[in-house]
Symmetry: C2
Subunit: 191 residues, 2 copies
DNA sequence: TGCATGTTTTGCAGTATGTGCAACAAATAA
DNA sequence: TTATTTGTTGCACATACTGCAAAACATGCA
Protein backbone atom coordinates (compact mmCIF):
# COMPACT_ATOMS: atom_id res chain seq x y z
CA UNK A 1 0.00 0.00 0.00
CA UNK A 2 1.72 3.07 -1.22
CA UNK A 3 1.80 6.33 0.61
CA UNK A 4 0.45 8.19 -2.41
CA UNK A 5 -2.66 6.05 -2.60
CA UNK A 6 -3.34 6.55 1.05
CA UNK A 7 -3.01 10.28 0.84
CA UNK A 8 -5.20 10.35 -2.24
CA UNK A 9 -7.92 8.49 -0.37
CA UNK A 10 -7.69 10.89 2.53
CA UNK A 11 -7.95 13.78 0.13
CA UNK A 12 -10.99 12.30 -1.58
CA UNK A 13 -12.68 11.61 1.74
CA UNK A 14 -12.07 15.18 2.70
CA UNK A 15 -13.42 16.52 -0.57
CA UNK A 16 -16.60 14.58 0.02
CA UNK A 17 -16.79 15.82 3.59
CA UNK A 18 -16.43 19.45 2.53
CA UNK A 19 -19.03 19.07 -0.19
CA UNK A 20 -21.43 17.40 2.23
CA UNK A 21 -20.98 19.92 5.01
CA UNK A 22 -21.44 22.87 2.68
CA UNK A 23 -24.49 21.49 0.96
CA UNK A 24 -26.18 20.50 4.18
CA UNK A 25 -25.28 23.77 5.81
CA UNK A 26 -26.90 25.62 2.93
CA UNK A 27 -29.94 23.46 2.28
CA UNK A 28 -30.60 21.24 5.26
CA UNK A 29 -30.08 17.51 5.62
CA UNK A 30 -33.35 16.43 4.03
CA UNK A 31 -32.88 18.51 0.92
CA UNK A 32 -29.48 17.08 0.11
CA UNK A 33 -29.15 13.66 -1.52
CA UNK A 34 -26.11 11.46 -1.78
CA UNK A 35 -26.29 12.03 -5.53
CA UNK A 36 -25.93 15.76 -5.02
CA UNK A 37 -22.97 15.30 -2.70
CA UNK A 38 -21.26 12.94 -5.14
CA UNK A 39 -21.87 15.35 -7.97
CA UNK A 40 -20.39 18.23 -5.98
CA UNK A 41 -17.42 16.15 -4.93
CA UNK A 42 -16.76 14.90 -8.46
CA UNK A 43 -17.21 11.22 -7.78
CA UNK A 44 -19.81 8.68 -8.82
CA UNK A 45 -22.81 8.07 -6.58
CA UNK A 46 -21.60 4.56 -5.95
CA UNK A 47 -18.21 5.74 -4.78
CA UNK A 48 -19.77 7.83 -2.06
CA UNK A 49 -20.67 4.60 -0.30
CA UNK A 50 -17.15 3.28 -0.68
CA UNK A 51 -16.06 6.09 1.60
CA UNK A 52 -19.01 6.46 3.95
CA UNK A 53 -21.45 3.80 5.04
CA UNK A 54 -24.34 6.20 5.18
CA UNK A 55 -25.08 9.74 4.12
CA UNK A 56 -24.68 11.33 7.52
CA UNK A 57 -21.28 9.76 8.12
CA UNK A 58 -19.78 12.36 5.81
CA UNK A 59 -20.92 15.01 8.26
CA UNK A 60 -18.84 13.87 11.19
CA UNK A 61 -15.20 14.53 11.93
CA UNK A 62 -13.05 11.39 11.69
CA UNK A 63 -12.91 9.38 14.89
CA UNK A 64 -9.97 10.51 17.00
CA UNK A 65 -7.33 8.03 18.07
CA UNK A 66 -4.82 8.24 20.91
CA UNK A 67 -1.16 8.38 19.95
CA UNK A 68 0.70 5.31 21.13
CA UNK A 69 3.25 7.28 23.17
CA UNK A 70 0.42 9.09 24.93
CA UNK A 71 -1.17 5.77 25.81
CA UNK A 72 2.11 4.38 27.14
CA UNK A 73 2.65 7.42 29.29
CA UNK A 74 -0.89 7.16 30.64
CA UNK A 75 -0.54 3.47 31.42
CA UNK A 76 2.62 3.95 33.42
CA UNK A 77 1.72 7.06 35.36
CA UNK A 78 0.88 6.80 39.05
CA UNK A 79 -0.72 10.24 39.37
CA UNK A 80 -4.46 10.72 39.87
CA UNK A 81 -6.27 8.93 37.09
CA UNK A 82 -8.68 11.76 36.37
CA UNK A 83 -5.85 14.22 35.81
CA UNK A 84 -4.01 11.75 33.64
CA UNK A 85 -7.11 11.11 31.57
CA UNK A 86 -7.53 14.78 30.89
CA UNK A 87 -3.93 15.04 29.88
CA UNK A 88 -4.43 12.08 27.56
CA UNK A 89 -7.53 13.49 25.95
CA UNK A 90 -6.72 17.17 25.59
CA UNK A 91 -4.39 16.69 22.59
CA UNK A 92 -7.28 15.17 20.64
CA UNK A 93 -9.09 18.49 20.76
CA UNK A 94 -6.29 20.05 18.78
CA UNK A 95 -7.98 19.15 15.53
CA UNK A 96 -10.88 21.34 16.55
CA UNK A 97 -8.92 24.27 17.92
CA UNK A 98 -6.91 24.27 14.71
CA UNK A 99 -9.99 24.29 12.47
CA UNK A 100 -12.43 26.34 14.49
CA UNK A 101 -14.43 27.36 11.43
CA UNK A 102 -15.05 23.81 10.24
CA UNK A 103 -15.82 22.75 13.77
CA UNK A 104 -18.36 25.45 14.36
CA UNK A 105 -20.03 24.72 11.04
CA UNK A 106 -20.23 21.07 11.99
CA UNK A 107 -21.52 21.98 15.40
CA UNK A 108 -24.12 24.28 13.91
CA UNK A 109 -25.30 21.64 11.46
CA UNK A 110 -25.51 19.04 14.19
CA UNK A 111 -28.12 21.13 15.94
CA UNK A 112 -30.41 21.40 12.93
CA UNK A 113 -31.60 17.82 12.67
CA UNK A 114 -32.45 15.10 15.20
CA UNK A 115 -30.56 12.56 13.15
CA UNK A 116 -27.42 14.61 13.41
CA UNK A 117 -27.79 15.23 17.10
CA UNK A 118 -28.02 11.50 17.45
CA UNK A 119 -24.86 10.95 15.44
CA UNK A 120 -22.92 13.45 17.50
CA UNK A 121 -24.02 11.77 20.71
CA UNK A 122 -23.09 8.45 19.21
CA UNK A 123 -19.63 9.69 18.33
CA UNK A 124 -19.07 10.54 21.98
CA UNK A 125 -20.33 7.12 22.93
CA UNK A 126 -17.75 5.47 20.72
CA UNK A 127 -15.17 7.72 22.26
CA UNK A 128 -16.36 6.57 25.67
CA UNK A 129 -15.65 2.97 24.72
CA UNK A 130 -12.15 3.84 23.68
CA UNK A 131 -11.56 5.62 26.96
CA UNK A 132 -13.01 2.70 28.87
CA UNK A 133 -10.60 0.27 27.30
CA UNK A 134 -7.58 2.33 28.16
CA UNK A 135 -8.75 2.81 31.74
CA UNK A 136 -9.29 -0.92 32.13
CA UNK A 137 -5.78 -1.52 30.92
CA UNK A 138 -4.28 0.91 33.39
CA UNK A 139 -6.26 -0.50 36.30
CA UNK A 140 -5.53 -4.04 35.14
CA UNK A 141 -9.23 -4.81 35.08
CA UNK A 142 -11.53 -6.32 32.49
CA UNK A 143 -13.07 -4.05 29.86
CA UNK A 144 -16.48 -4.61 31.35
CA UNK A 145 -15.58 -4.07 35.00
CA UNK A 146 -17.65 -1.49 36.82
CA UNK A 147 -14.92 1.00 37.54
CA UNK A 148 -13.67 1.57 33.98
CA UNK A 149 -17.23 1.80 32.73
CA UNK A 150 -18.20 4.41 35.26
CA UNK A 151 -15.07 6.53 35.03
CA UNK A 152 -15.14 6.48 31.23
CA UNK A 153 -18.78 7.54 31.18
CA UNK A 154 -18.18 10.42 33.56
CA UNK A 155 -15.05 11.66 31.87
CA UNK A 156 -16.64 11.52 28.43
CA UNK A 157 -19.64 13.43 29.71
CA UNK A 158 -17.34 16.09 31.08
CA UNK A 159 -15.50 16.36 27.78
CA UNK A 160 -18.75 16.56 25.85
CA UNK A 161 -20.04 19.41 27.98
CA UNK A 162 -16.70 21.19 27.83
CA UNK A 163 -16.65 21.04 24.03
CA UNK A 164 -20.18 22.36 23.90
CA UNK A 165 -19.16 25.23 26.15
CA UNK A 166 -16.24 25.97 23.91
CA UNK A 167 -18.27 25.76 20.71
CA UNK A 168 -20.90 28.04 22.15
CA UNK A 169 -18.98 30.85 23.67
CA UNK A 170 -16.02 30.84 21.37
CA UNK A 171 -13.36 32.50 23.48
CA UNK A 172 -10.57 30.48 25.02
CA UNK A 173 -9.30 27.05 24.01
CA UNK A 174 -10.84 23.63 24.44
CA UNK A 175 -8.41 22.66 27.17
CA UNK A 176 -9.21 25.61 29.43
CA UNK A 177 -12.89 24.74 29.08
CA UNK A 178 -12.12 21.14 29.93
CA UNK A 179 -10.30 22.13 33.10
CA UNK A 180 -12.99 24.55 34.12
CA UNK A 181 -15.70 21.95 33.52
CA UNK A 182 -14.02 19.34 35.65
CA UNK A 183 -13.59 21.82 38.48
CA UNK A 184 -17.32 22.49 38.27
CA UNK A 185 -18.00 18.79 38.40
CA UNK A 186 -15.91 18.41 41.53
CA UNK A 187 -17.89 21.22 43.13
CA UNK A 188 -21.17 19.57 42.31
CA UNK A 189 -20.22 16.33 43.99
CA UNK A 190 -18.36 17.85 46.93
CA UNK A 191 -20.57 18.26 49.92
CA UNK B 1 -61.92 11.88 20.97
CA UNK B 2 -63.31 8.95 22.77
CA UNK B 3 -61.48 6.97 25.38
CA UNK B 4 -62.05 3.78 23.45
CA UNK B 5 -60.24 5.06 20.40
CA UNK B 6 -57.28 6.13 22.45
CA UNK B 7 -56.98 2.81 24.19
CA UNK B 8 -57.31 1.01 20.89
CA UNK B 9 -54.42 3.01 19.50
CA UNK B 10 -52.29 2.24 22.52
CA UNK B 11 -53.11 -1.42 22.13
CA UNK B 12 -52.22 -1.42 18.46
CA UNK B 13 -48.94 0.38 19.15
CA UNK B 14 -48.13 -2.23 21.71
CA UNK B 15 -49.00 -5.09 19.38
CA UNK B 16 -46.60 -3.68 16.84
CA UNK B 17 -43.92 -3.26 19.50
CA UNK B 18 -44.23 -6.83 20.66
CA UNK B 19 -44.13 -8.15 17.10
CA UNK B 20 -41.08 -6.04 16.33
CA UNK B 21 -39.16 -6.97 19.46
CA UNK B 22 -39.82 -10.66 19.00
CA UNK B 23 -38.92 -10.72 15.33
CA UNK B 24 -35.73 -8.73 15.81
CA UNK B 25 -34.78 -10.77 18.84
CA UNK B 26 -35.14 -13.93 16.80
CA UNK B 27 -33.67 -12.85 13.48
CA UNK B 28 -31.64 -9.68 13.93
CA UNK B 29 -32.46 -6.15 12.87
CA UNK B 30 -31.24 -6.46 9.29
CA UNK B 31 -33.25 -9.57 8.58
CA UNK B 32 -36.54 -8.07 9.66
CA UNK B 33 -38.42 -5.72 7.36
CA UNK B 34 -41.23 -3.35 8.19
CA UNK B 35 -43.42 -5.52 5.98
CA UNK B 36 -42.69 -8.52 8.17
CA UNK B 37 -43.47 -6.60 11.33
CA UNK B 38 -46.73 -5.31 9.89
CA UNK B 39 -47.66 -8.79 8.77
CA UNK B 40 -46.98 -10.19 12.23
CA UNK B 41 -48.89 -7.39 13.90
CA UNK B 42 -51.87 -7.76 11.57
CA UNK B 43 -51.76 -4.28 10.08
CA UNK B 44 -50.94 -2.97 6.64
CA UNK B 45 -47.38 -1.94 5.84
CA UNK B 46 -48.48 1.65 5.47
CA UNK B 47 -50.05 1.70 8.91
CA UNK B 48 -46.76 0.82 10.53
CA UNK B 49 -45.55 4.28 9.64
CA UNK B 50 -48.65 5.85 11.09
CA UNK B 51 -47.48 4.58 14.45
CA UNK B 52 -43.71 4.80 14.20
CA UNK B 53 -41.63 7.21 12.21
CA UNK B 54 -38.97 4.66 11.45
CA UNK B 55 -38.49 0.96 11.81
CA UNK B 56 -36.32 1.08 14.90
CA UNK B 57 -38.73 3.31 16.80
CA UNK B 58 -40.86 0.26 17.45
CA UNK B 59 -37.95 -1.20 19.37
CA UNK B 60 -37.74 1.42 22.07
CA UNK B 61 -39.82 1.81 25.20
CA UNK B 62 -42.07 4.87 25.13
CA UNK B 63 -40.36 8.01 26.39
CA UNK B 64 -40.92 8.40 30.13
CA UNK B 65 -42.55 11.53 31.51
CA UNK B 66 -42.45 12.96 35.03
CA UNK B 67 -45.73 13.07 36.90
CA UNK B 68 -46.84 16.61 37.59
CA UNK B 69 -47.01 16.16 41.36
CA UNK B 70 -43.47 14.81 41.38
CA UNK B 71 -42.30 17.86 39.48
CA UNK B 72 -44.04 20.21 41.88
CA UNK B 73 -42.49 18.52 44.84
CA UNK B 74 -39.07 18.71 43.23
CA UNK B 75 -39.44 22.38 42.40
CA UNK B 76 -40.34 23.33 45.93
CA UNK B 77 -37.86 21.24 47.84
CA UNK B 78 -34.84 22.87 49.45
CA UNK B 79 -32.89 19.69 50.03
CA UNK B 80 -29.75 18.82 48.10
CA UNK B 81 -30.58 18.94 44.42
CA UNK B 82 -28.80 15.69 43.57
CA UNK B 83 -30.80 13.76 46.11
CA UNK B 84 -34.02 15.35 44.96
CA UNK B 85 -33.23 14.51 41.35
CA UNK B 86 -32.72 10.89 42.20
CA UNK B 87 -35.99 10.85 44.06
CA UNK B 88 -37.67 12.41 41.04
CA UNK B 89 -36.24 9.96 38.58
CA UNK B 90 -36.44 6.67 40.45
CA UNK B 91 -40.20 6.23 39.93
CA UNK B 92 -39.64 6.27 36.17
CA UNK B 93 -37.69 3.06 36.43
CA UNK B 94 -40.77 1.32 37.73
CA UNK B 95 -41.84 0.46 34.18
CA UNK B 96 -38.67 -1.56 33.83
CA UNK B 97 -38.70 -3.26 37.20
CA UNK B 98 -42.29 -4.24 36.55
CA UNK B 99 -41.52 -5.74 33.14
CA UNK B 100 -38.06 -7.14 33.65
CA UNK B 101 -38.44 -9.68 30.86
CA UNK B 102 -39.38 -7.13 28.23
CA UNK B 103 -36.66 -4.82 29.47
CA UNK B 104 -33.96 -7.42 29.31
CA UNK B 105 -35.04 -8.47 25.84
CA UNK B 106 -34.91 -4.85 24.75
CA UNK B 107 -31.56 -4.42 26.41
CA UNK B 108 -30.22 -7.54 24.77
CA UNK B 109 -31.42 -6.44 21.36
CA UNK B 110 -29.94 -3.02 21.79
CA UNK B 111 -26.49 -4.57 22.05
CA UNK B 112 -26.74 -6.49 18.81
CA UNK B 113 -26.66 -3.64 16.33
CA UNK B 114 -24.87 -0.27 16.16
CA UNK B 115 -28.05 1.44 15.06
CA UNK B 116 -29.83 0.24 18.16
CA UNK B 117 -27.01 1.21 20.46
CA UNK B 118 -27.26 4.64 18.94
CA UNK B 119 -30.99 4.82 19.53
CA UNK B 120 -30.61 3.81 23.14
CA UNK B 121 -27.99 6.46 23.71
CA UNK B 122 -30.24 8.93 21.97
CA UNK B 123 -33.12 8.05 24.25
CA UNK B 124 -30.97 8.93 27.23
CA UNK B 125 -30.00 12.15 25.57
CA UNK B 126 -33.64 13.14 25.20
CA UNK B 127 -34.12 12.24 28.81
CA UNK B 128 -31.19 14.48 29.66
CA UNK B 129 -32.94 17.41 28.03
CA UNK B 130 -36.05 16.80 30.06
CA UNK B 131 -34.00 16.70 33.24
CA UNK B 132 -32.15 19.85 32.24
CA UNK B 133 -35.38 21.78 31.84
CA UNK B 134 -36.66 20.82 35.24
CA UNK B 135 -33.34 21.69 36.88
CA UNK B 136 -33.34 25.08 35.20
CA UNK B 137 -36.81 25.72 36.51
CA UNK B 138 -35.85 24.84 40.06
CA UNK B 139 -32.73 26.98 39.97
CA UNK B 140 -34.63 29.78 38.23
CA UNK B 141 -32.09 29.80 35.43
CA UNK B 142 -32.40 29.67 31.67
CA UNK B 143 -32.61 26.27 29.97
CA UNK B 144 -29.23 26.80 28.40
CA UNK B 145 -27.39 28.01 31.49
CA UNK B 146 -24.22 26.14 32.34
CA UNK B 147 -25.31 24.69 35.62
CA UNK B 148 -28.50 22.90 34.50
CA UNK B 149 -26.68 21.55 31.46
CA UNK B 150 -23.84 20.13 33.49
CA UNK B 151 -25.93 18.69 36.29
CA UNK B 152 -28.40 17.11 33.88
CA UNK B 153 -25.60 15.52 31.90
CA UNK B 154 -23.95 14.06 34.98
CA UNK B 155 -27.15 12.79 36.52
CA UNK B 156 -28.29 11.19 33.28
CA UNK B 157 -24.93 9.51 32.88
CA UNK B 158 -25.25 8.11 36.38
CA UNK B 159 -28.72 6.80 35.66
CA UNK B 160 -27.60 5.25 32.41
CA UNK B 161 -24.75 3.38 34.06
CA UNK B 162 -26.98 2.31 36.93
CA UNK B 163 -29.56 0.87 34.55
CA UNK B 164 -26.83 -0.98 32.69
CA UNK B 165 -25.60 -2.41 35.95
CA UNK B 166 -29.09 -3.51 36.80
CA UNK B 167 -29.76 -5.02 33.39
CA UNK B 168 -26.49 -6.90 33.50
CA UNK B 169 -26.39 -8.45 36.90
CA UNK B 170 -30.08 -8.90 37.43
CA UNK B 171 -30.33 -9.01 41.19
CA UNK B 172 -31.73 -6.10 43.16
CA UNK B 173 -33.90 -3.26 41.93
CA UNK B 174 -33.10 -0.29 39.74
CA UNK B 175 -33.21 2.14 42.62
CA UNK B 176 -30.62 0.34 44.73
CA UNK B 177 -28.32 0.32 41.72
CA UNK B 178 -28.93 4.02 41.25
CA UNK B 179 -27.99 4.80 44.81
CA UNK B 180 -24.92 2.61 44.69
CA UNK B 181 -23.80 4.20 41.45
CA UNK B 182 -24.07 7.72 42.78
CA UNK B 183 -22.08 6.77 45.85
CA UNK B 184 -19.38 5.43 43.55
CA UNK B 185 -19.44 8.68 41.61
CA UNK B 186 -18.94 10.67 44.77
CA UNK B 187 -15.96 8.52 45.63
CA UNK B 188 -14.41 9.08 42.25
CA UNK B 189 -14.55 12.85 42.54
CA UNK B 190 -13.69 13.05 46.24
CA UNK B 191 -10.01 13.60 46.68
C1' DT C 1 -82.59 3.04 13.30
C1' DG C 2 -80.19 5.67 9.86
C1' DC C 3 -77.62 9.58 8.41
C1' DA C 4 -73.68 12.85 8.89
C1' DT C 5 -69.18 13.61 10.64
C1' DG C 6 -64.71 12.80 12.03
C1' DT C 7 -60.80 9.31 12.35
C1' DT C 8 -58.03 5.56 11.02
C1' DT C 9 -56.50 2.36 7.77
C1' DT C 10 -55.10 1.19 3.44
C1' DG C 11 -53.25 1.03 -1.51
C1' DC C 12 -50.59 3.14 -4.79
C1' DA C 13 -47.11 5.61 -6.87
C1' DG C 14 -42.92 7.60 -6.16
C1' DT C 15 -38.18 9.07 -4.12
C1' DA C 16 -34.07 7.99 -1.61
C1' DT C 17 -30.83 5.06 0.89
C1' DG C 18 -27.78 1.44 0.73
C1' DT C 19 -25.68 -3.33 -1.11
C1' DG C 20 -23.64 -7.00 -4.16
C1' DC C 21 -21.44 -7.88 -8.14
C1' DA C 22 -18.78 -7.69 -12.13
C1' DA C 23 -16.54 -4.78 -15.48
C1' DC C 24 -13.36 -1.26 -15.94
C1' DA C 25 -9.59 2.14 -15.04
C1' DA C 26 -5.56 3.49 -12.80
C1' DA C 27 -1.54 3.03 -10.07
C1' DT C 28 2.30 0.19 -8.70
C1' DA C 29 5.79 -3.45 -8.94
C1' DA C 30 8.47 -6.47 -11.74
C1' DT D 1 6.20 -3.46 -21.26
C1' DT D 2 3.44 -6.69 -18.65
C1' DA D 3 1.27 -8.55 -14.48
C1' DT D 4 -0.88 -7.53 -10.22
C1' DT D 5 -3.13 -5.04 -6.99
C1' DT D 6 -6.34 -1.39 -5.72
C1' DG D 7 -9.94 1.83 -6.53
C1' DT D 8 -13.99 3.41 -9.32
C1' DT D 9 -18.06 2.90 -11.67
C1' DG D 10 -22.67 1.21 -13.57
C1' DC D 11 -26.42 -1.69 -13.00
C1' DA D 12 -29.88 -4.27 -10.82
C1' DC D 13 -32.13 -4.75 -6.73
C1' DA D 14 -34.13 -4.66 -1.88
C1' DT D 15 -35.84 -1.80 1.57
C1' DA D 16 -37.18 2.48 4.01
C1' DC D 17 -40.16 6.04 4.06
C1' DT D 18 -43.69 9.89 2.25
C1' DG D 19 -47.88 12.17 0.11
C1' DC D 20 -52.23 11.63 -1.32
C1' DA D 21 -56.78 10.18 -1.96
C1' DA D 22 -60.08 6.39 -1.49
C1' DA D 23 -62.13 3.15 1.54
C1' DA D 24 -63.47 1.37 5.99
C1' DC D 25 -64.64 2.34 10.45
C1' DA D 26 -66.32 4.45 14.74
C1' DT D 27 -69.02 7.90 16.88
C1' DG D 28 -72.67 11.38 17.85
C1' DC D 29 -77.09 12.84 16.91
C1' DA D 30 -81.86 13.26 14.72
Amino acid sequence: MSDLRERRKLRTANTIRVAAVNLVHAQGLDNVTTDMISEAAGISPRTFFNYFRYKEAALLPPTPVFRQEAIDKFLQSRAKILDDLIELIVPLTQFFSENPKMFRKLFEISQTHPKLVMLKINAFHEFEEMVRRVIAKRLKLRDDAEKPILIAALVTTGIRIAMERWANDGSGTPDTEIKRTFEDIRTIFAQ
